[in-house]
């Protein structure tokens, strides 16, 4: 094992012979080459679609200075390492990996290509040439929770979720707290589909929740199936990642949307200037990474005002959705009154707040 690792390091040393800063090679070779690795097909809405939107924005903004390449549907396994290494070998100076599961592969390839900048979405491992970026998805969730709490008649909200990890739990909890801040009788029911992407199962989950009385449903999965299911039943839905209103104009109340273009533009500009450093950005409304899609005309004025106010506060950094006191489902205090949850605590969230009617499956 050791000898093999040495071999790889030697090989990496040969390919990365000079120790120029990141930018130098780009300037010598004309346009800077930027590679993107996507976990799913780009499609027309969802996680990967938003990243690709960001890529196209960046391409448009930088014009001839940049040349991008993307590879979609790369599974989070050994294939990912091969794809990432191939991008690095073919002269890409910046490589974005947009799925959590690429983390270990990016770390490994980053060590072999010290001159290449690796930027990983949603991960937590960093290195001399490996940075991370993520969005505060829960901020958008909070605003959509206000809409849901105001629009429900049955006081039951349905939530179709992928996997019980902190990122998803932050969303569920922010959504629940916001809905209950407007309507304390609301309860949120969660169904886990254990898949990021399975339109059939997502739809079944949404239909099950609606059969149980939910009249507003939302989802933390990648397809548009939940919005479509709500449209067919004449219920309301809240989209995720992208504005999904064209999949159900009547049902779609709003969506928590994610925007990566500005970040990509800034990162590539830094790389060209030679000033890029591996960072760990976790941006929200303030950075323009999280936004709210246009509200459905059915949403009344009172809640619109409230949303505008909180959105302004989020943008100004004056409001944090996870502000004390926060009680979990069993009544245990998780955050004291007047306190704001720090990022480390947020990223180890493993409970439901009060108001979630479902029980959390064990991991």
């Amino acid at each position: 094992m050791t000898s093999r690792r040495n071999l790889i390091q030697q090989a990496a040393g040969l390919t990365g012979a000079s120790m120029l800063p990141f930018a130098a090679q780009a300037q010598n070779a004309g346009p800077i080459k930027v590679g993107y690795v996507y976990v799913s097909p780009i499609g027309d809405a969802g996680w990967t679609f938003q990243h690709d939107l960001g890529r196209r924005e960046m391409e448009k903004s930088l014009g001839a200075k940049v040349q991008t390449r993307f590879i979609e549907s790369v599974p989070e396994g050994a294939d990912a390492e091969r794809v990432i290494r191939e991008l690095a070998q073919s002269g890409h100076s910046v490589i974005f990996g947009t799925s959590f599961g690429y983390m270990n592969f990016m770390e490994r390839v980053a060590k072999q290509f010290p001159k290449v900048a690796f930027v990983h979405a949603t991960g937590y491992k960093r290195g001399p040439n490996l940075g991370t970026y993520n969005a505060r998805f829960y901020e958008g969730r909070y605003l959509t929770g206000l809409v849901a709490g105001r629009m429900t008649q049955s006081n039951i909200l349905g939530y179709v979720a992928a996997f019980p990890i902190p990122e998803v739990l932050q969303g569920i909890n922010a959504f629940t707290m916001a809905a209950r801040s407007i309507n304390p009788k609301v309860e949120v029911r969660v169904v886990w589909v254990n898949s990021w992407y399975d339109p059939g199962k997502e739809r079944d989950a949404a239909n099950t929740l609606m059969a149980q009385g939910a009249d507003v449903v939302t989802h933390h999965t990648d397809s548009t199936a939940v919005v479509q299911a709500a449209q067919e039943r004449g219920r309301y839905a809240i989209g995720y990642h992208s504005d999904m209103s064209k999949y159900g104009a009547k049902a779609h109340l709003t969506a928590a949307t994610h925007h990566w273009g500005a970040y990509y533009i800034r990162t590539i500009n830094e790389a060209i200037a030679g000033s890029w450093k591996p960072g760990s950005l976790w941006g929200g409304f303030k950075e323009g990474m999280v936004k709210l899609a246009p509200l459905n005309p059915a949403v009344p004025g009172d809640v619109r005002e409230r949303i505008a106010k909180i959105e302004a506060d989020l943008t100004a950094g004056k409001f944090h959705p996870f502000s004390g006191s926060i009680l979990d489902q069993d009544g245990k205090e998780r955050l004291g009154a007047g306190k704001t949850m720090d990022d480390n605590t947020l990223n180890s969230m493993d409970y439901y707040v009060q108001g979630v009617a479902s029980r959390l499956p064990k991991k």
């Binding site: 799913s40 097909p41 499609g43 027309d44 549907s73 349905g158 996997f163 019980p164 309860e187 029911r189 969660v190 169904v191 886990w192 589909v193 254990n194 898949s195 992407y197 399975d198 339109p199 059939g200 199962k201 739809r203 079944d204 989950a205 239909n207 099950t208 929740l209 059969a211 149980q212 939910a214 397809s223 548009t224 199936a225 479509q228 067919e232 064209k246 999949y247 009617a357 479902s358 029980r359 499956p361 064990k362 991991k363």
Partner: protein, 311 residues
């Protein structure tokens, strides 16, 4: 009253979720009974799904969509037949290749359709029957394709066990050499059985994209073709048990979603929940089919073996 409504809604959802598995598995059952093992169901479903979606999108007709799905499935099955029946290639390898090829090709041709959505096909409540409490809304308020799947089941049972043609099919699956000596057209029958299997896989795919989701997206078949293949084996090639398995799978899928949403005390890891439909279906089918002599009796002896007339 609310409880009854909920129960019938859940049963209806279970049947709806099980229907594509039923259709695909019945097709595969006929194919396998002739001695041909076509593992390409996943790919044929994907092709049927995109063909059906495209047809429904351009024509607005669900009937045309189902036909287009069937044709796409038949086209895939013919490729498989050419390789595995005429050219005597290894059936397992050809089937796996067809799976991968079909999923990939469907993704490629389906690119322009990713953005689009269809309006759902409305249910056709059957007169009188749909008014029965509990049973009516659960069984008789579906889109017509669900009723067609029941007719299909009846047709497969009658064909296999009560017609001469069905006997010939089974004989060929048992021993193609003997059937050939007796003057039956082994190759032709195997082609027909494979084509039927392909058509049903295509219809099952079209069901997913036109009736079930209804949208087209890459990877939307999500392993259902493999589940259908497994159902045939665990149902020991008996059509009625395929129905049981398909609905059991659909039922467990819906039940676990329902229990999660209901807020009941729940102390099981979520991965177990997701595995539950698979486990239950396999366990139940294995239990009811556990007598080895019956399995031997029902499984086609020549399954997966290449055969040509001169050996």
């Amino acid at each position: 009253m609310a409880g009854i409504d909920l129960a019938s809604a859940l049963i209806a959802a279970a049947i709806f979720a099980g229907t594509p598995l039923l259709i695909v598995a019945l097709g595969e059952l006929i194919t396998e009974r002739s001695g041909v093992l076509n593992l390409g169901a996943e790919g044929m479903m994907a092709m049927g799904a995109i063909a059906g979606f495209a047809a429904a999108y351009h024509s607005g007709s669900a009937v045309l969509a189902v036909l287009a799905g069937a044709l796409a499935g038949i086209a895939c099955a013919l490729i498989f037949g050419l390789l595995a029946i005429s050219l005597l290639a290894n059936q397992v390898a050809c089937g796996l290749a067809l799976s991968i090829f079909g999923v990939g090709l469907a993704a490629f041709v389906g690119k322009p359709y990713e953005a689009l959505s269809l309006t759902a096909v409305p249910a056709w409540p059957l007169p009188v029957l749909s008014d029965i409490p509990l049973v009516g809304p659960a069984l008789f308020q579906h889109p017509p394709i669900v009723y067609v799947s029941w007719l299909l089941l009846a047709a497969v049972i009658i064909f296999l066990h009560h017609t001469r043609a069905g006997l010939v099919l089974r004989a060929i699956g048992e021993s193609p050499a003997v059937a050939h000596q007796s003057g039956y057209p082994v190759i032709a029958v195997r082609y027909l059985a494979t084509i039927f299997g392909g058509a049903m896989a295509g219809v099952g795919g079209a069901f997913l994209s036109v009736f079930y989701t209804p949208l087209w997206a890459e990877g939307m078949v999500a392993g259902r073709g493999w589940i259908a293949l497994a159902l045939v084996v665990f149902a020991t090639w008996r059509p009625a048990r395929v129905l049981l398995g398909a609905y059991l799978f659909g039922g467990m899928l819906i039940a676990q979603l329902f229990v999660q949403g209901s807020g009941l005390e729940w102390d099981i890891p979520s991965q177990w929940l997701s595995a539950l439909p698979y486990l239950t279906t396999i366990v139940v089918l294995v239990l009811i089919s556990r007598r080895p002599e019956l399995i031997r009796l029902n499984s086609p002896v020549s399954l997966g073996r290449v055969w040509r007339p001169d050996n």
